[in-house]
């Protein structure tokens, strides 16, 4: 990621290159190349958005007494919203451990497939690397908070990415 960002002389041009790749990958412009950032897109056979995971994350948001900001026009099962909720839960008391575990199941239900799709479709590699990092983070999070065997390393700040993505397993579905 760092190499790609530092490769160009003009930061604005680099930003536009990344913006172009972003909409091709995530906004649907790329058609079959789309790596949809919504959990619903990986749920069931329809590949439609706004499926059951949207309602399930909405319920978790209500339980956490938070809501999606009114200027964000995205459904609740967007990857970034699930990660933001996960971050908020981490800052809360240990009493929400079960909710954390449930949200980790949601994240793990689609993060591996999303990362695989990014790896396959991202031409420049920036978002594939970001997705790799995200997947390592989500896996480490799940392991660290569920008492499973801990990962060998974790990424820290802007230093090296230490968690390898590994092979994707079939996702475990959260209870409906």
């Amino acid at each position: 990621m760092r190499e790609i960002v530092l490769a160009g002389d003009n930061p604005a041009e680099v930003a536009r290159d990344l913006s172009n790749e972003f909409i091709l990958l995530f906004d649907g412009v790329g058609g079959p190349r789309t790596a949809s950032p919504y959990e619903s897109a990986y749920f069931g056979f329809s590949r439609r958005l706004f499926q059951a995971p949207t309602s399930e994350i909405n319920r978790l948001l209500r339980q956490a007494d938070v809501s999606v900001s009114s200027d964000v026009k995205e459904p609740a099962d967007h990857l970034s919203i699930e990660l933001a909720l996960r971050g908020r839960m981490m800052r809360e008391s240990a009493s929400c451990r079960n909710k954390c575990a449930l949200l980790d199941l949601h994240l793990m239900a689609f993060a591996p497939m999303l990362a695989d799709k990014c790896l396959e479709a991202d031409r420049a590699g920036f978002y594939a690397a970001a997705a790799d990092l995200m997947l390592g983070f989500v896996r480490a999070l799940r392991d660290a908070f569920s008492g499973r065997s801990r990962p060998s390393t974790l990424p820290v700040g802007d230093d090296e990415i230490a968690v390898a993505p590994g092979a994707s397993k079939p996702p475990e579905r959260p209870p409906s």
């Binding site: 950032p37 948001l61 007494d65 809501s67 920036f126 990092l133 983070f137 999070l141 820290v156």
Partner: protein, 270 residues
Amino acid sequence: MSIKDPTRRSILKSGAAMGALGLSGSSLLVSGACAASAPSSETLTGSHWGAIRMKVDDGRIVGIRPWERDSRPAPTLEGVMDLIYSPTRIKYPIVRRDFLEKGHRADPKGRGDGDFVRVSWDQALDLVVSELRCVDAAYGPGGTFAGSYGWMSPGKLHNCQSHLRRMLNLKGGFVTCTGDYSTEALEVMMPWVVGSTETDQQVTAWPVIIENTQLMVFWGADAINNNQVGWLIPDHQAYVYHERPQRDAGSGSRKRAPRLRADCVPLRPV
């Protein structure tokens, strides 16, 4: 640096890198839960594929069934949900990068190669206004054509042609058109054939056709497939007549269209 024993602090710190995958994490959530959505309901609505009842749960469409008085629901009706919830539906304004950088001096060769970038709605509107002013200055009112593709979702809110003309009326001075590309030829031709345009007027009803017609030619039309979809909201009643005997089957190289009980004659005989 990497660590071998993750702590809550280290995990929180590494979370900062997640912003690269889209929305910024800090401002996504605000305190205070939204009220729970209204309980499940079923709404009667319409589509180009027929009248439908949509089940809505937690603000989401979770099921669809045809209107019970539609005797021949279109098999494609389920696709309405794909239309609404497709992962490839574009939700944000985007613009070709070369146009964003160079305006009307952008190289037209780049059109269609997917080199788009996302812009804000304000920026998108500014680009449109700027280009309209530029065309006005260079070519006058004759330089802007208020033409748009005609199909839209049923319901006048989605009439793209009306929206385009309303928007251009704010500026004034543009070229518009009469009629439409679908029926304009019919409106000229049909008065000579049947005495009316047969488009915006009452069309000849199927019982009259069956009673009086010796030979009916569908030219470049597949009545069975095409009548699944309608310009407004079809009730598919035409299928009742399609299935009545209209003509004995032919033979030789002609093919039968069983549901119409008619011959399908290839344009170029086999």
